[in-house]
């Protein structure tokens, strides 16, 4: 085992800090979307107004759900095309000092879809296959805009709870304010903090080093700190380096690892409080926050416990020293197991997807814990959309719970009707569908190639394919393995890109639609028959509902992959 109990103190303090900051930052976040006075208005409001005029819009112009979605699809579609074109032509475009070749059309499509949807699942090796310009100009654009899009959708959906005129906001105004008031200032300060912790920040693309034992080694550099800070804050999870958050240059110390966890969780934990602020009822934030925390802490506990165990498969290796500070294969030396585990769990549960361990080398139970986080997508889930998913779960839970105890299903004075349930169920069912259908097609169609043979040979390879589609459907972006099967074929590029696009924009439309339905409803005054949602009982009920629903949807595939690995030892 070899983990000192004392080594948990910093992760506990960090979690407590993230929870303590959340109500404060959440109410700030809420005020950003309420058009209320904010610090920084003196400087930023004139700039924002000028941008609105340039775009030909105004904060007064409020959009319906349909128009909001049109604007959202135009911006995201434009970004998707721009990224695809940039990657497809990167060899001949400027800022390619390391002479990287063009991507193939399908790889460029997968990458563009991946970054546009806040997934950042990569089918390439950054150092040799993506140019400096692609990283800095194309990918970084998506780091900002995909994160902002998620938050805008969350804000628009929440407004539906309190507005009664059928409008949800102005997409362009929301985007501008998200970037100018939230993402840009926090990312800038965090980037500078990362530089102080040792992360590079320079315009030099690479340096040739001359190792002691001869030969040369290329050290890839760039504006890594500022890039990485928006990637983590925006729960994108892309890495400037392909080894992502495990790379010593991107995450050099135990402190930078803790700081990255803080960035993963900052907006994710604040979202319930932003919700409480916008609906002007802060008590309603805690049941949602409580649900997130219960699932998150239990997942973390399971993860650490199983990572600390000795691997029984290594009994055949003689003369190997004891396991100190956890299981070393696929782990980095510089942080303790509790710290590394919190980084990995927070990264996957907040849908960041930045690995600071090698997921393929984790114990099967730990892999299953990570898979479960991507199945729920909402504990706490990705930027904005994670909280939106949690609200959809809440709507369903209240509907089902209302039927069970014979209460009127209503939430915050809004009656939940068939329309809401239909859209919420669609958003939650599209997730298993976009995992299981491509998973079955790729297995049955013989698209999974492992070293030339076409079928997955082991439960590990099976898990790797399942993990790939789960990560893509949840817009997570963590990857289980680079070697378990060949994922750079046109089939996996195109199927993966479609899974990511469907897994992103169908739930977004469902979230806007639910907000839209609420915004066109009469207000129900609370009555004796109202189910009280701001209570501990409801928190526990919602937690169980979330866990049971997710488990039921996915148990069959878990049994085929990770469970077989645990039981069968293959």
């Amino acid at each position: 085992m070899g983990i000192a109990v004392q080594s948990f103190w910093d992760v506990i303090v960090l979690l407590a800090l993230a929870i303590a900051v959340a109500p404060w930052f959440g109410s700030y976040l809420g005020r950003v979307y309420m058009d209320r006075p904010l610090p920084g208005d003196v400087v930023l409001t004139p700039i924002e107004s000028a941008i609105y005029r340039l775009l030909g819009t105004s904060p007064r112009r409020q959009m319906s759900a349909r128009e909001y979605m049109v604007a959202l699809l135009l911006v995201n579609g434009g970004m998707l095309f721009f990224l695809w074109w940039f990657f497809f032509q990167q060899a001949s475009l400027p800022f390619n000092p390391t002479g990287v070749p063009n991507m193939t059309w399908d790889l460029a499509f997968h990458s563009a879809a991946s970054f546009t949807t806040n997934t950042d699942y990569t089918h390439f090796t950054n150092e040799s296959q993506i140019s400096f310009g692609s990283l800095d100009i194309a990918w970084q654009l998506a780091l900002f805009l995909s994160a902002a899009t998620g938050l805008c959708v969350m804000a628009a959906m929440i407004r539906g709870f309190v507005r009664k005129d059928g409008t949800l906001g102005n997409y362009y105004v929301d985007m501008v304010r998200t970037i100018s008031r939230v993402l840009l200032p926090v990312a800038f300060v965090s980037g500078i903090i990362l530089v102080v912790m040792g992360v590079p920040e320079t315009w030099t693309a690479s340096v040739i080093a001359h190792p002691i034992t001869g030969g040369t080694q290329t050290i890839y550099l760039g504006p890594v700190a500022s890039w990485q800070s928006i990637s983590w804050l925006g729960t994108n999870g892309g890495g400037w380096y392909s080894a992502n958050a495990a790379m010593p240059l991107a995450n050099p110390t135990a402190f930078s690892n803790l700081f990255s966890i803080f960035l993963f969780l900052l907006i994710a934990f604040s979202a319930p409080f932003a919700f409480g602020q916008i609906i002007r009822n802060r008590g309603e934030a805690w049941p949602l926050m409580g649900t997130v925390l219960i699932v998150f802490v239990v997942a973390y506990g399971l993860f650490v416990a199983f990572q600390a165990m000795n691997n029984p498969a290594l009994a055949s290796v003689h003369g190997l020293g004891p396991q100190i500070n956890g299981y070393p294969v696929g782990q980095e030396t510089r942080w303790s197991l509790p710290e590394a585990s919190l980084g990995q769990v927070a990264s996957v549960y907040a849908n960041v997807g930045a690995n600071n361990m090698d997921i393929g080398a984790l114990s099967p139970v730990a892999q299953m814990v990570l898979l479960f986080g991507m199945f729920t997508q909402s504990t706490p889930g990705g930027e904005g959309t994670g909280f939106g998913t949690l609200l959809l779960f809440t709507v369903l839970a209240i509907f089902v719970g209302g039927l069970m105890v014979g209460r009127t299903p209503e939430y915050l004075g809004n009656k939940i009707e068939t329309g809401h349930v239909k859209w919420a169920a669609l958003a939650l069912l599209i997730h298993p569908a976009t995992i299981l259908i491509p998973f079955l097609v790729s297995i049955a169609g013989g698209f999974v190639q492992v070293d030339g043979s076409t079928l997955p040979a082991t439960a590990h390879n099976f898990t790797a394919v399942l993990y790939e589609f789960t990560s893509e459907s949840a817009n997570n972006g963590s990857a289980l393995s680079t070697g378990a099967f060949n994922d750079t074929t046109p089939f996996f590029n195109v199927a993966g890109a479609l899974v990511m696009l469907v897994g992103r924009f169908v739930p977004i439309w469902a979230m806007l639609k639910v907000g839209d339905l609420f915004s066109r409803q009469e207000v129900l005054p609370p009555s004796a028959g109202t189910l009280k949602t701001a209570s501990g009982t409801f928190t526990i009920y919602l937690t169980l509902f979330l866990i049971i629903t997710s488990a039921l949807l996915f148990l069959p595939v878990l049994a085929m992959g990770p469970l077989a690995q645990i039981v069968g030892g293959m």
């Binding site: 970004m79 550099l221 380096y241 080894a243 110390t253 030396t333 510089r334 028959g529």
Partner: protein
């Protein structure tokens, strides 16, 4: 649904409840709000302009300001924590491991990409995969053969296990200390001297239990070179 609990609904209607707890405050005050009447052409124009502005901001302005600030406040780490030989040539980065498997140097953790940063990283075999045992056995045998270990000696796990990044420059102190007999054998340096030398290079956590004690192997080896007269 109404036929399931008619009494509740009837009660609710007659009861005349208090004002709703959810305040109906519009996000933009109502008198200032008008329905959006953007045409498709307005949307397309706004999208293009918004994307151009965002590219200028995220791709140029934001990194440019960050680089300018970073180069002033922390130039060494902002430029990649580079380590130099006495003659000024770049030896490597303190944050990137190199192949140092010469008998007269301390070794880093093994790398599945052979420390070639262009290859990124590679995933080790899964936890229950028989290939994992084979890989570790091969690494152990190599380490025993060239690392001056007796056949039955226990070799620290961290010394023979591949890392997540494949360029982890750090090792646990015991995995460095265990290499001292080999280095002493290959050079004219004594074992007590090397023990003292390694102990001086152990990086202990600044705050207890935040991180673990480790040794940056590349920095250690570069400090060792002049002592060995190379």
């Amino acid at each position: 649904m109404s036929d399931r609990n008619p009494p509740t609904e009837t009660v609710a209607r007659e009861w005349q409840p208090p004002a709703p707890t959810v305040a109906r405050m519009p996000v933009v005050p109502l008198h200032r709000r008008i329905p959006s009447s953007h045409t498709m052409a307005t949307h397309v124009r706004a999208t293009i302009l918004f994307l151009v502005l965002s590219i200028l901001l995220s791709g140029f302005a934001y990194p440019a300001v960050s680089v300018a600030v970073a180069q002033v406040i922390e130039p060494w780490s902002a430029n990649g924590s580079l380590l130099h030989y006495p003659n000024g040539t770049v030896a490597g980065s303190a944050l990137i491991a190199q192949n140092t498997s010469a008998p007269w140097l301390f070794w880093s953790r093994p790398s599945l990409t052979d420390y070639n940063t262009t290859l990124g990283f590679d995933t080790p075999p899964g936890p229950t995969d028989p290939a994992l045992g084979q890989l570790l056995n091969e690494t152990l045998n190599y380490t025993r053969l060239y690392g001056n270990f007796t056949v039955n000696a226990s070799i620290p796990f961290w010394l023979v296990s591949p890392s997540a990044s494949d360029v982890d420059p750090d090792l646990t102190p015991e995995a460095v200390l265990v290499q001292i007999p080999r280095v002493a054998n290959a050079t004219n340096l004594s074992i007590p001297f090397l023990q003292n030398f390694v102990n001086e290079h152990i990086v202990n956590p600044v705050v207890p239990y935040v991180g673990v004690p480790y040794v940056d192997v590349l920095q250690l080896d570069l400090a060792l070179l002049p002592l060995e007269g190379r």
